[in-house]
């Protein structure tokens, strides 16, 4: 008797989100099967890999994390270009300088840096604010305005501040990152609220990515369930691509700081796990783990 593989048919489809404009634009999401289920359907857009750039010199990075970027650490524009030379699909610019608990740089200064980076690089740009709910409103709305029409991916947008930031993103033509604290019910709630005034095709979900040994299994489960609920059960409030912002989380761990090889493995293992869980964009720190992830995605290892 001929063997017939048991194939699933799915009722839902992840929204296809376009980031960046013109020739720079890339597409993420769009799949109507579970991650890496090539045997059940076509996956139009492979997961994309970003390297992170800080808008001020990094603090607490290990020697080997600093090494690949040693000439560009004080110049976000050169750093962003370097990321693309190292093989990144896109750049994730972190506005750490704006953190009220740190340098507390003003919004317009940060926005000017974003503008310069965006003009200088040939890829779309992800912009993360400091994560301070109140300050992010000032910073991200300013960035949205200054970079009008560039179709950035702006975040984090949280339950507490989604209204003004999503409005600015809508007015000035950008995508947003909807962030919730490792809780699928809160993730859905934020999506439902956003969808009342914001198009699904411009939202990327950030359920928070914890590092291996520090709760990665929670991130894995939530990403996996998000795909199940969106793709298998057709819940259209959960059909957005996912961003796994994991490089900085891994870099903070004791294990990653202990030695170079362990640090590389810590990031890579977290990355491949979240890739399998369904992440559509990975934000990494180390060029070597970027290389590894590329090979994984291309099916070479």
């Amino acid at each position: 008797m001929e063997y017939k593989a048991p194939l699933e048919t799915y009722s839902g489809k992840v929204a296809e989100v376009v980031i960046g404009k013109g020739e720079k634009a890339i597409k993420i999401g769009g799949e109507s099967v579970l991650p890496f289920h090539f045997f059940e359907g076509k996956i139009e857009n492979r997961p994309r890999l970003a390297l992170e750039v800080l808008d001020s010199e990094p603090k607490g990075w290990t020697e080997w994390e600093l090494k690949p970027y040693k000439d560009v650490l004080s110049d976000p524009i050169a750093w962003a270009k370097k990321c693309l030379d190292l093989g990144a699909d896109l750049v994730c610019l972190r506005l750490v300088s704006t953190d009220p608990a740190g340098a507390n740089a003003p919004a317009d200064k940060a926005a000017a840096v974003v503008k310069q980076v965006v003009s200088a690089v040939k890829s779309p740009v992800i912009v993360y604010g400091s994560g301070d709910e109140a300050k992010d409103v000032q910073v991200l709305t300013k960035v949205a305005e200054v970079c009008a029409g560039e179709n950035l991916l702006l975040g984090p947008v949280a339950k507490e501040n989604y209204e003004p930031i999503s409005k600015a993103a809508l007015d000035h033509g950008h995508c947003i990152i909807a962030q919730s604290p490792l809780d699928i019910n809160l993730e859905k709630e934020l999506n439902v609220k956003l969808l009342k005034s914001f198009p699904r095709e411009r939202i990327v979900i950030d359920p928070l990515s914890s590092a291996l040994g520090y709760g990665m299994e929670y991130s894995f489960t939530i990403m996996e369930r998000t795909k199940h609920i969106g793709v298998m059960f057709g819940d259209n409030t959960m059909q957005m691509p996912i961003i796994a912002d994991l490089g900085s989380e891994c870099g903070r761990t004791k294990q990653a700081k202990e030695n170079e090889k362990q640090g590389l493995l810590w990031e890579s293992i977290t990355a491949i796990s979240l890739l399998l869980a369904g992440a559509n964009i990975l934000v990494l720190r180390q060029p070597e783990s970027l290389k590894l992830m590329k090979e994984v995605i291309e099916g070479k290892i």
């Binding site: 019910n185 809160l186 993730e187 859905k188 709630e189 439902v192 819940d235 409030t237």
Partner: protein, 292 residues
């Protein structure tokens, strides 16, 4: 369905203050209002009742009995308080509750026999709340057998499957519903009860009612005998009295998976359909479940 009014609860500040001051007014008002609103029993939730358990409990039972003839559900984990309460009740009370925990089997269950009461037996065990339907069944079969050996007949036993909040675990909410549906076959003659409002614990206050009401109708369809519930929710009492047959019908249809055209329904009816789907674990819960 028998409704046990939940409002006299030691966690409530007005109740705990009234107990401290031995002020009967607040307690009696709560008892009276619940009786007038349609309660069949008054729940007297004492929590662990650490201080003066005997004196406090008999005072409370007498205070309630001063304004209503309704039977009392004596709700405490403290066997000393329980015994004092049962002793003081004029009408046949409900012992609320015993469980599969060793201390409960040894100290609580015998009181049901001694005072010839109805008794709530929950599925809790020494390991806590059973994680799935099979372990719930295992636990209740074991504890009910033990109760029968003590001379408590099935007819006096009200089984409590332990309701968890839908915001925490939708699967367990659905399984408790299935469990209630299986009880008549598992343990012929037993009755059942739930702490209904638990299902909406953790949900924003203004949205709790519809979860409680919808789940009550769903559980009722599966044979639930009684519920400890918010009888001050007038719509809940009306639903229970069969005064809102259209809503009940809509909930049943949604449970049966019939396709329902939401656009043809009123906002209230749509909300009941959406809530049923969440409680059946067909759509993922979020605090915004009525908004999408």
């Amino acid at each position: 369905m028998i409704l046990i009014g939940e409002s006299i609860h030691i966690i409530s500040k007005q109740v705990s203050d009234a107990v401290k001051e031995r002020n009967p007014k607040v307690i009696q008002e709560l008892a009276k209002t619940q009786a007038d609103s349609g309660a069949d029993y008054i729940d007297l939730n004492l929590g662990p009742a650490k201080r003066d358990p005997e004196e406090v409990t008999s005072w409370l039972v007498n205070t309630i009995q001063g304004v209503t003839d309704l039977p009392i559900s004596v709700d405490t984990l403290n066997p000393v308080a329980m015994e004092a309460g049962l002793k003081t009740c004029k009408k046949r009370p409900l012992l609320n509750s015993a469980s599969g925990r060793t201390d409960s089997k040894e100290l609580m269950l015998p009181l049901a026999k001694k005072y010839n009461t109805d008794v709530v037996i929950s599925v809790l065990t020494d390991k806590g709340c059973p994680p799935d339907i099979d372990s719930r069944i295992e636990s209740i079969m074991d504890t009910v057998t033990h109760a029968n050996e003590l001379g408590i007949p099935n007819e006096d036993i009200w089984v409590d499957p332990i309701i968890l909040p839908v915001s925490a675990d939708q699967k367990q909410v659905r399984e408790a519903l299935e469990f209630i549906g299986m009880l008549a076959d598992l343990l012929p003659g037993v009755k059942s009860t739930v702490g209904l409002s638990n299902v909406s614990n953790g949900t924003p206050e203004e949205l709790r009612g519809i979860l409680n009401r919808t789940y009550m109708v769903m559980l009722g369809r599966n044979g639930l005998y009684s519920a400890i519930a918010d009888v001050l929710d007038a719509e809940l009492v009306r639903l229970n009295r069969g005064e809102l047959p259209k809503i009940v019908d809509l909930i049943y249809k949604t449970m049966d998976g019939e396709s329902i055209n939401l656009a043809s329904l009123s906002k209230q009816e749509q909300d009941y359909v959406k809530t049923t789907k969440v409680l059946m674990a067909e759509t993922l819960y979020s605090h915004a479940w009525l908004e999408s």
